[in-house]
Symmetry: C2
Subunit: 311 residues, 2 copies
């Protein structure tokens, strides 16, 4: 059993109550305690040797730890309110380094209006671990789930994808304003953030919505890093594969009714002129994820292997 | 710099916003988003080799991980709503053991009306770590902070103290009903849960409230385990010292106006006949914590060393 299978099994039948609108399985949980806003809850951890190294600049570690949580708030169309920081500290922790991690957290928290309302430490003898929990809000009924995509929807993605490991995974800016605008506009039917690679994450939307998708290979926005990493290294992923399968892009992928596609592009360009938005394909009745290029239409497996499907 | 000093330094000037009623430093953060209820937020982690061992029954690990968070909700007089579970899993994790940990969490969650709304896993290569974040609510303005004690208040503690390491730290029942009753009754001026030993934790109330306290040694409720552990072991803590300084009791310590002391005892006995409640002393203007016994009044240091102060 791998971790994904285990967590699916563990969260299959968890205790619930009348406050729960959305439980495990979306970017955030959604809770309703009355009032005009619903609550969003999310927790996420980064671990030394897994999400950053002993050499990573501490401010960037802090930034990344909080930004990952904020990206999930963004993916629901929400606004962050408050965060709790848990530090798992090795026995010989360097307090100056820990203070710099907090500086990175605080800078991003300040910029995004997120209050830091608790800080705990625990011993994690062998390595530094930072777990952050976040509370956000979204206007009642406006949260953008993974389950709302409809056949015929246009599929959009923000920014460019791939090669995040070359540095962007430590510096990315969570798409909070963009996500909140999409939720308020009412255009988007489903949304999530791209944290495990576009192909794998889009599949979560497809499965939750009971649909499929066809993407245009040529339209996938690919970062300069993903393009250049394959040059002169025959063992590196080709750029398109990197854009589809590299992790930690933290961009937004969402679907909108085909009639609204132009309005979304125009509205986005007016509001967020510096953030790219690309229509990469459409939602289909046929399940699964397929890629169309000059050679035809091909299925795309979760693992990243592309097999030819004929035209 | 130790962990307490570090966290105090880190949380001294954290970002805040208009939703924050109480930030870092109490049992929970308190947030106000409008409506008749305020929100409580808390996070807490348990780590293999620190809070439990590789031999600990997994259901009890899960129980303890959630119960610690619930004890903090209880200490504010709140009611739990929802929890998020983060599992840091070693590479060779045993999925059956993890499922049993979840069983322990789920059983307590169900019994206390707590929804489990998210479950994440991350890799923590060397040991199992469980971090839980919890959201609760409390009626507006009813949260019991550490800062409300007044000179002349009676000091109460629930249950019995000391020797939790012999098993109770894995099985304790968070005092949710008791805490909520105290908040609703309006009797209590300040409250917290006893997690690091009565003497150290009461000192947090004293410092937050700008007061001192005098306890009656003979009135401190001591568990059977704390009494028996010192028998035949001259290196063990004497029972009173164990009750004052052993960690993980997870009982409630609170102060009430002296006029209400009898009403609290009577009301408690009627509502919670099976849970002991003891008046152990009173709040004084003179700062610090002092113990009175047949030999007189003595100061009590944080570290547990008792020095004689004269009568």
């Amino acid at each position: 059993m791998n971790e994904f299978q285990l967590i699916a099994r563990l969260t299959r039948s968890v205790p619930s109550n009348s406050a729960v609108v959305v439980g495990p399985g979306d970017d955030c949980a959604v809770l309703d305690l009355g009032g005009d806003r619903q609550l969003l809850l999310k927790t996420d951890a980064v671990v030394e040797g897994v999400h950053f190294t002993a050499d990573t600049e501490p401010e960037r570690i802090g930034h990344k730890a909080l930004a990952r949580c904020l990206s999930d708030i963004a993916a629901m169309g929400g606004t962050p309110t408050a965060a709790l920081i848990t530090l798992g500290l090795p026995k010989d922790f360097d307090s100056a380094r820990v203070e710099k991690i907090y500086s990175g957290i605080n800078a991003l928290a300040t910029r995004t209006g997120t209050a830091i309302v608790g800080g705990e430490t625990t011993t994690n003898p062998d390595r530094l671990l930072i777990s952050i929990s976040i509370l956000g809000t979204v206007h009642r009924g406006k949260a953008l789930l993974r389950s709302g995509s409809k056949v015929g929807d246009a599929v959009f993605v923000s920014g460019e994808l791939g090669g995040s490991i070359h540095g962007r995974h430590l510096d990315f800016e969570p798409r909070l304003a963009e996500g909140a605008w999409l939720a308020e506009s009412g255009f988007a039917h489903a949304m999530m953030d791209v944290s495990d690679g576009l192909a794998g994450d889009l599949r979560h939307i497809l499965q939750a919505s009971g649909v499929g998708a066809e993407l245009l290979s040529r339209s996938i926005p690919i970062t300069r890093e993903a393009r250049s990493q394959s040059k002169g290294d025959s063992s590196a992923k080709p750029p398109l594969l990197a854009a589809l399968t590299d992790g930690e892009d933290f961009e937004l992928v969402f679907t909108v009714g085909s009639r609204d596609a132009v309005a979304v592009l125009d509205g986005w360009k007016a509001k967020f002129p510096e953030v790219k938005l690309t229509c990469i394909g459409r939602i289909t009745e046929q399940p699964g994820l397929r890629l169309r290029d000059e050679r035809g239409l091909r299925g795309f497996d979760v693992g990243g292997y592309v097999h030819f499907q004929g035209n």
